[in-house]
Symmetry: C3
Subunit: 174 residues, 3 copies
């Protein structure tokens, strides 16, 4: 797709190891560099630090990386406001917010407000986690509900929504 | 979609918190009221009663509610026979039948027979539960198999089948 | 679809009890018999033996059956090289390879090389297992990752990729 057709907000949904992040990177890098990579993962220990560094090295030059486990809106409307941007991923953000005992509906309001003010394109990657058996664990059920609700809210404001399976996108919207 | 185009039987599949029920309600309420809401959930206790009441209040007026944990065919060919109807949901019905030690294949025969005699449109909501890791638990595996088989049988007789993710429908049939 | 249009390699993805195997059989048997059925399941005991026999009886005549828990490439480029072929399923093959402590990326290289040399059509069935909650169990997470990676690799070389839900195919590629 020509660079000029990437809309303001794209949501890329998919399962674990579905190729959703790679697909999102390919869409974004069709635009001219530099690109912002906004990671919601946090380096808690040396192993995690190393995994994040490996990912950065794989992406190569042209990327500016941000790590923001909680304040996604701040980065998207602050340092990364002017750049085409990849957020990877919303599901981990929900998990981080739950651990920090934040109100997720309220955080989603703030995020959607920040997204509405951007002009540079943004691609958000998110997991679909509701297509298995109901988890035994109450916290896992709550997480699944929160992640599903956030996906619905972002999809509602997104210009384009894709569902990726085995590396291949299906068009849900836009 | 214009009201006159809603076919006799629509199946709406999706994950937990995928927006499938909301999408189904929107399709049905494009037809003139009253609409039948056929819930397979049962109020076992005060908390469950309250949750069901909250759902009813949210749907607003124009709806006639039925609660039928087991006898879906009876309601669909009885009290709700003449009304456009939303069944929410088939997956919970399978779970209820398993608890009641009913023969699910046989119950599905009776349900499909009842559906074939209706003339008012019916939308059935169901969960897709087979896209995660194989459950450790034998009962969960059996439930997953029964739910999957029922989805296939209803899809085979449905005029239209939709798969909803993040609130957005994909067309599988019709 | 007319027999002559079945491409060299088709991947049929889907959940448990999604009807993916039945759909794959229907596609293959549109071609003239005999057809090769390449099972990755193994008869460990009498119960498993009986289940496999029941499946064979259901498929009926015209099929030549192979059981190959590990050496898929050998069968596809050996005894079954000249026949239209159904492989059921890749996900169980990944599980078998993990139990045998094989290097899955390397085994996938060998499989893809063998597929590239076939001229008779091949349909491979595989489970999508990454759309539920993250498993607690580390081995289950590793399995999910390996299965997802293999699906991506096979999808990349396949001529056609289908995703089956409730017995109904969605076209992902080709």
């Amino acid at each position: 797709m020509p660079a000029t057709t990437l809309p303001p907000l794209t949501l890329v949904l998919g399962g674990a190891r579905s190729g959703k992040s790679t697909h999102a990177e390919r869409l974004l890098t069709a635009l001219p560099a530099p690109w912002a990579y906004v990671a919601t993962a946090e380096a808690w220990d040396a192993e995690m630090r190393q995994r994040i560094d490996v990912h950065q090295a794989r992406r190569g030059s042209g990327w500016i990386s941000y790590e923001t486990p909680l304040d996604l809106a701040g980065v998207l409307s602050g340092d990364a406001a002017g750049s085409p941007c990849l957020v990877d991923c919303l599901t981990l953000w929900v998990s981080n917010l739950m651990h920090a005992r934040r109100d997720i509906a309220q955080e989603a309001d703030v995020l959607i407000e920040a997204l509405s003010k951007r002009t540079a394109p943004c691609i958000m990657v998110s997991n679909e986690v509701g297509l298995g058996i109901v988890p035994d664990n109450a916290l896992a059920r709550q997480f699944r509900d929160e992640a599903g609700r956030l996906n619905q809210r972002i999809a509602a404001v997104a210009d384009r929504v894709l569902f990726v399976a085995a590396g291949l996108p299906m068009n849900l919207k836009g």
